[in-house]
Symmetry: C2
Subunit: 400 residues, 2 copies
């Protein structure tokens, strides 16, 4: 991974790096790259079922979907993975219609072990095929009510470390177990995360992440939205994961004041949004920063054939260009256009579509979020603002 | 469709309604509900191929995807529809691998007829199977270079009305042809649009759209982002269509000044984003309006079974509730939470998952966009800000 900043660098960020280093002693996600995973690999090796269904919402599924979607177009995974991540009845029915429930391994993932949506979906499936050790595993916090239930049926249980929050948990068993079962190389995934971590915490590094986070935090009132402009469809899941991470971590009351602060994440996909949303960035209110994400090597050689269509000769300009080069030329055009009008911009280039690349990206954004939160004086790891809705829902369910 | 506003109503919008009525004489999308479609139905009836592939980017595909995704989970369409809407090589290869190219009807859709991405994809497919009247139709402006090419191969051509812009074109042949071929009832789709139109332009109506647009325009600096909080996965495509429409239409320099104005569209899906993005709306900067979209009748009876899992007894609170009611209770909880802190909020409730409902929604948002644009003093129908990137790309392609 390579990252270039096009905005003014800020040099005094050592204080925050020290703070984050300190925080890493108590916040769990920092240590995930070094966790032991042999027991997960061993479990995955023995899964014979071809259909895998993750029951989990928000932090229990978005990260796994991000990594799976990033890799699946270029890999021929033999197993089929679906996500049951909504209470929407037509979507539940539609997704379940695509698998044979009796030959599916379900994975219920809930940190608290008491997520009403996920447990309700589990009940629905239980009526089709009773859950046993053969067709259900549980991923949850140690001693959660869900783990206690698991014991009553002798189910296999994987633990989420206590100090790892839901939206920071994709590199824990939450993501690693389903991904390993599908055939994704979780060792390389963690290696990618680890390389990013070491680069950041080693003193010789230029701390580009600290420069970027300082710029975001210092300018949070002027530049209140941050766009990820990802050049490939395979980033759709990653964009959604980023949006959750950024919005839920950075939209808060400050710790040492009552001021509400926040940065609004926006996920864009090039080239589609280059034909539309770009208009708003170019000529709308100048309140957005942009991070363009490119892939250096798509691992694909297909190119625009050297063909002329009568009356369309002007478009022969693209002939003989590889599609991989074309999409990157499009990204470069957006970069040039944005630079021309002074939009705060940076560019991340991933080497390839690999476990290592996406592992780096996940850790990069977790670290960036932690750094921005420190500088905005907010707690990146709680979510008091979603609790009110939960209480209201509970009351409504009791009445219905 | 039912729409309730929870923010202060503004009563003096007659001026803008008159302006929009006037504009409707020259801007084409207003008249689409009344167009003749017999020739499209006749064509669709005779399509025998089971795979349909739309080649088109931005306005040439997003609207079609929105309607198709909204309807497909509840309908068993016999034909398969894919979209080739990107230059991303792994996505092109992956999507093409899912169809048999030789038994596919391709539809190339380009208003100008000179979209380099789409023509390049067309060339790539031409090398697999030469295009003839049997396997390719063309949807484009009259006399475009693409239509001229079509004549050299005797292809069937459908015209986009000259005064209908790309992002407003879904109810023209751009969307109607592929949707009719798949088996979607385009007559009901247009009927939905027409009923919304008549409701708006009839004087007896309360002009809720005008009240809403006036609020958005008057408060564009304070409330610079507008969130669609759509309660069902089937709105994902609709959200993307809305984001394009809103961003590209409303991010502009004013007509009578040089000021850059704009409103930032954000597409959210409940209940997923209720677990994450809601935090930012509740406790971040108070710069967002929210529109919650609900479906009254999902046409699904599945419910949470009356089962108790040991140690999870507390979650029996959801037992016997239909999933359709559960997701709507979740929506209502979000509405209540947002109302409590005074977020400018409105709620749209669709009767059912039907052509009529989505036709209403499309027209509702096109009309709303036109109204906001008038009041912000901008041209909703051009996109000067995306041209610079196109010129840069052309230069880059020439050099490569």
């Amino acid at each position: 991974m390579n990252n270039i900043l096009y905005f003014n660098k800020v040099t005094e960020q050592n204080f925050f790096i020290k703070e984050v280093t300190l925080e890493a002693n108590s916040v769990g996600f920092y240590d995930l790259p070094e966790q032991k995973i042999d027991y997960i690999l061993e479990f995955a090796k023995n899964v014979k079922k071809d259909n895998i269904a993750v029951i989990g919402i928000g932090g229990s599924s978005l990260g796994t979907e991000a990594i799976y979607n990033f890799l699946k177009s270029s890999n021929n995974y033999k197993k089929n993975l679906i996500f049951l991540d909504t209470t929407d009845p037509v979507t539940i029915e539609n997704r379940l219609s695509k698998i044979d429930i009796k030959s599916t391994l379900f994975m219920i993932i809930s940190k608290s072990g008491t997520t009403v949506e996920s447990i309700s979906i589990m009940k629905y499936i239980e009526t089709k095929n009773r859950f046993t050790r053969e067709n259900l595993i549980v991923i949850t916090d140690e001693n959660s009510p869900l783990e206690k239930f698991a014991k009553t049926r002798n189910l296999e249980v994987f633990h989420i470390p206590n100090n790892v929050g839901g939206r920071y948990s994709v590199l824990s068993p939450v993501g690693l177990v389903p991904l390993a079962v599908i055939g994704i190389d979780i060792k390389s995934l963690l290696k990618g995360a680890k390389s990013l971590k070491e680069k950041f915490f080693s003193e010789s590094d230029n701390h580009i992440l600290a420069e970027k986070s300082t710029f975001y935090a210092m300018n949070f009132e002027k530049y209140s939205s941050n766009c990820l402009f990802s050049y490939s469809e395979i980033f759709r899941g990653f964009n959604s994961w980023y949006v959750q991470l950024w919005a839920e971590s950075l939209g808060k009351k400050q710790i040492h004041s009552t001021m509400n602060v926040g940065l609004t994440p926006i996920g864009l996909i090039g080239p589609t949004d280059q034909h539309s949303f770009l208009q708003l960035i170019m000529e709308g209110k100048a309140d957005k920063t942009v991070t363009v994400i490119k892939i250096e090597n798509f691992g694909s050689d297909i190119s625009v054939p050297d063909i002329t269509f009568e009356h369309l000769e002007k478009l022969d300009i693209a002939n003989n260009i590889k599609f991989a080069d074309l999409i990157n030329l499009q990204a470069d055009s957006t970069i040039e256009a944005l630079n021309k009008i002074g939009v705060p911009l940076d560019v991340i280039t991933l080497d390839s579509i690999s476990e290592k690349s996406i592992g780096e990206m996940i850790y990069y954004y977790e670290l960036l979020t932690a750094l921005v939160a420190r500088q905005l004086d907010i707690n990146a790891y709680d979510q008091p603002g979603v609790e009110l809705g939960k209480i209201i829902l509970k009351n409504k369910m009791e009445k219905s």
